[in-house]
Symmetry: C2
Subunit: 142 residues, 2 copies
DNA sequence: TCCGTTGGTTTCCAATGGAGACCAGGTGCT
DNA sequence: AGCACCTGGTCTCCATTGGAAACCAACGGA
């Protein structure tokens, strides 16, 4: 019966123009899965500062593998969030830049990152408390 | 040399109080990986509307497996974003609720979801354009 | 000549995610 | 009485994913 209490959520393909991420088969769900991603977030944030080339991104985003970087960049390009331009120089140089559509998402991502960076102490405290109380039953490495 | 051009980003453990998600070994990176997650996002959004029980969440969040639901809920509980309360009723009932810390993150997540639900048409158009232009080299199923 | 740099792709292996079985223990339905 | 089903999970199995590293072509510099 609780389902009915959610008034504003349709079934994705309804009379409303917007999708519904709570529906598994809605395209917005797949979109959410893409943008709610570690590497996508970091790439978009970086490119929002300035356009950058492949190896620049790789250096900037510590720990990303070449595979995930090229893969994620291709997804972002396909989704129209990032543009890719090849300059046929000496060793071919490829520059990535954020698109207006991508830029329109950055504010939200930035807010999420800001939250993570500022609220980390509270989260760490919660983790410590959790691990102390239920430490025996939930060890770090089971 | 480009690294130096990013003035505001430290090496996570610096004089600044905040972390740096761009550093692979920074705890905020792990935190980002948790909150930038499909299921975490949907769970927090749902619990922000009202507290809910396990199977309620499972019904509400279409397509989530029991394993991922319980796993994600435990992570969120450990991070202090969600609280878990067991009521020893008839069949034991477990209620999950969002904490103030979790609620402080929801606005950003909500913005991300809103972006996905409203900008989906533009993304779909970009995908169609991409698939048309480079359709032969990047077929849907390779 | 050999290394490094460009931007990737490919290969291999470990970790993750999903489907579904299984669990306890009580309750309603027949 | 017996059976299915509710609660909230866990466990096992398999497919997909992610990461590390090798490989690639073409060119520049030592």
């Amino acid at each position: 019966m609780q389902e009915g209490t959610f008034s504003s959520h349709g079934h994705c393909r309804g009379t409303t123009a917007r999708g519904d991420v709570f529906a598994a088969d809605c395209p917005t769900r797949r979109l959410l899965d893409r943008i709610a991603d570690k590497w996508s977030t970091l790439i978009l944030l970086t490119l929002h500062d300035q356009p950058m080339r492949f190896n620049g991104l790789k250096r900037r985003i510590d720990g990303v593998s070449q595979k995930m970087l090229s893969q994620t960049l291709r997804s972002l390009e396909r989704d129209g969030l990032v543009s890719r331009s090849v300059v046929a120089t000496v060793p071919v140089s490829v520059t990535y830049a954020i698109t207006p559509l991508g830029a329109s998402l950055v504010a939200s991502l930035r807010a999420m990152i800001d939250w993570a960076e500022t609220r980390m102490p509270e989260v760490a405290a919660a983790q410590a408390a959790y691990d102390t109380i239920s430490g025996r039953s939930v060890p770090e490495i089971a």
